[in-house]
Structures are given as structure tokens and as C-alpha cells.
Amino acid sequence: MIKFVDEYRNPALCLKASEKIKAISKKKIRIMEVCGGHTMAIRKNGLNKLVGGNITFISGPGCPVCVTALQDVDTAIALSKLEGITVCTFGDLFYVPGSSSSLAESKSEGADVRVVYSADDALNLAGRQRDKKVVFISIGFETTAPTAAAAILRAQAEGLDNFYILALNKTMPAALRAILGSGDTKIDALICPGHVSTITGIEIYRFIVEEFKIPCCVCGFEPLDIMTGVYILAGLSEENKAELVNAYKRVVRDEGNKKARSIMREVFEKADAPWRGIGVIPSSGLRLRSPYKRFAARERFNIDVPPAKENPGCICGEVLRGIKRPADCPLFAKTCSPSRPQGACMVSSEGICSAWYKYGD
């Protein structure tokens, strides 16, 4: 049995990393952790304290639930209200408030909304209940998009005519370029997402190193993974070197997972996509290619919802771009909490507001 969990949580090695980081870190730097999983790991383990006062973590746009545009949440809710439809969603999206409702509220009003663990679960459900149309709300980055693509290929092969997806998948490079290029947020180094890189490989970050001169480190999610990554990034920053380092080699091959990428490319093509708090980013989303258009829920059910109404007090958008901190939000920990979330960053278990609420600044 593969163990190697204790090793990556080894307190002595983490403290050693902490001392080393503090010893080399002379200037103040801001490290963006792109992935929501990293945000949680940093806060849960108190790594933001262990790295010393010169290093500040800024959370990036890597929580798929948080960056799902409000209008797309409204579309999912509208789908759930149609007769004869079962909507399948990942758990985090279930509670995200739309303009005036949520999938959870829709279910409480009688809609057939199921929380699933996998696109494959939704596909199996479609196979079992052929009299109902099953719509899978497909969110997620490059880690998750191939799973939806594989489900579509299976549906095609099995001749399932009652399975559809609402493709809200997004891809990392264009979003990172938009954030780094906007100049809104000063970023000195990047902790790149671990499991996205398992699929994409590490070369998708090369432009950040070459064009933006920002050092990048692909990291795992255990405390020692992140502390070592920070040590590498702090060292590169001190020397003003921009390099791309893979510190998660146990699951990230430099070349990624070619088979998964080819399945993703077979089913999806690039499309412009709206990101919550950021706006429409060209070529940052995925839509079904022509041969698979019949699986597209939005087109099949002709869903067109009115423009979304953002909660005027919620600053999720600025938090997602790293411009503001959760504590800057007037709603944070007052009217907005995990049990009564006002915005997506508080709903998702990987949202930055949820992390701050649970573990503090």
C-alpha cells in the first residue's frame, strides 16, 4: 500500500522548511496560490503563519464553483425547473445562491436535483431512468473536464439519448494570463495547481515564466509539498530568477496525461467563457464540438435566462482577483457565513471566504 502521507506532513521537515524560508526571505513577496485546494491546505495547516512575515498568500481563481458566473448558476436552476428533467450536480454547486434561488431551493420546491460524485454517476443514472432526461452540470478545470468528456463518449457509444451536459468547464492558462496581465494584483510568484497539471503537464505555465518573469512551482497539497514549494519560490524571487519547477512529480509528469487530453480535445473545443468577478475571458472555456452538440443542454432545452443580479454587497469578484481580502467584505461573517452564504466564495468548501471563516486570517 502506498503510504507516504506521514512523510508529507512531517512536522520536523515542515519546521525546517519554515526556518529556511525565513532565513532566505529578505524582501516582501506575494505568492498566488491558484488552486482552491491549496488555499484550504494553507489556511487549515496555518502555513500562512509558518512562512514568516515577508510572504503573503493571495488566493487565485482556482475554485471552479467560485468562478462559475451567476448567470450560469441561474441557467442550471432554470434547467432544474423544467418538467421531466433530473439535474445532477457536484455538491458544492448545490447551495450556491443564484440571482433569486439555488439548486437546493429548487429541490426543496420539488425539482429532481441530485448531488453526484462523478459525471459517470450521472451517466449511469441516465442509463437507469430512460424515461427522464438527465442533465449533468459540468463545472471544473482541466482536471475534471476530461471526466465529462469521457462520459459524453460513453453516452455516444451506448446510444443514450437522455443524457446532456451544461458545459461550464474552464481552463487555466487564459485566466492566469488575464489576471497577471490586468495589473490589478501584484504577484511575485505562483503556486501552480497540482491536479490540473496532472492532466495538462507543466508547459502550460511556461508563458508566465517567460513573458511575466514570474517564478512558478507546481505543488502537491500536503503541508510539506507547499512549504517546499514556497521555499523554492522565495529562493527564486530573492535571486530575481523566473523558473518553472515541478515539485509534485509523484503525480505530475512534466508531459501530463496525454490520453486524458486527447479525450478532452475530441469532445470539447475552446470557447469564450464568463468568469465570476473577472468577466468574459476569450478562449478560457470549453464547449461541445459539433459531433457532440446533441448533448448540449443549453441548446437542447433552449434555456435563456435574464441577466443575473449580483448581490450588491458581495465582493466575491474582487476577492477572486486578489484585489480584496474576505475580511474587507461588509457581509463577511455577518450576514454571510457557510450556513447562510451570500456568495460562492463562502459556499464552496475551497472558497477563500469559507477558508478565512473556518481558519481565520
Binding site: 500500500m1 502506498i2 507516504f4 512523510e7 508529507y8 521537515l13 525546517k16 522548511a17 529556511k20 488552486c35 482552491g36 485546494g37 482556482g62 475554485c63 471552479p64 464553483v65 457536484f90 458544492d92 460524485y117 462523478s118 459525471a119 459517470d120 454517476d121 463545472i139 471544473g140 478545470f141 482536471t143 475534471t144 476530461p146 471526466t147 469521457a150 463518449l153 460513453r154 495547481p193 497540482g194 491536479h195 490540473v196 496532472t198 492532466i199 502537491g220 497539497f221 510539506l224 509539498d225 517546499t228 521555499y231 523554492i232 515539485a247 509534485y248 512529480k249 509523484r250 503525480v251 509528469r253 496525461n257 490520453k259 486524458a260 479525450i263 464552496s348 475551497e350
Partner: protein, 71 residues
Amino acid sequence: MCWAVPGKIIDIQDNRATVDIAGLRKQAALDLIAQPRVGDYVLLHAGFAIQKVSEEDASLTIDFFKGRLGR
């Protein structure tokens, strides 16, 4: 949401596997990895195996860290 955990394939039927994750048995689709075999360790994400992993890879990472941090 991009969470993933390693597990061991203990059975394969119709390109879906039963995977043992530290004693917990889960079903996982194998569409995204090449030549899966019973006994392989795989990284699981959202019901799919997304990469094969090995004990050697895991110890390589530890060695990498120790090398970087100094023994």
C-alpha cells in the same frame, strides 16, 4: 474541487475498476488512463482514475524535498 486521492485497483469490469483507498472501496472509471491493470495504483478524481502513480514516484518526491531542504 480538483481533489484527488491515490488508491489501488483490485478489480476491473468493463473499463470500470473497484479501487481500494486505504480500506474504502470505490468504483472508478478507467477511460482516462492507458493500460490499467489490477494492482496498479492510480490517482482518483471525481470517479475517474486520472494518472497511474507508483511508490517509486512517491519516494522520489520525498528525496527531492530532502535534497532541496538539506538533510
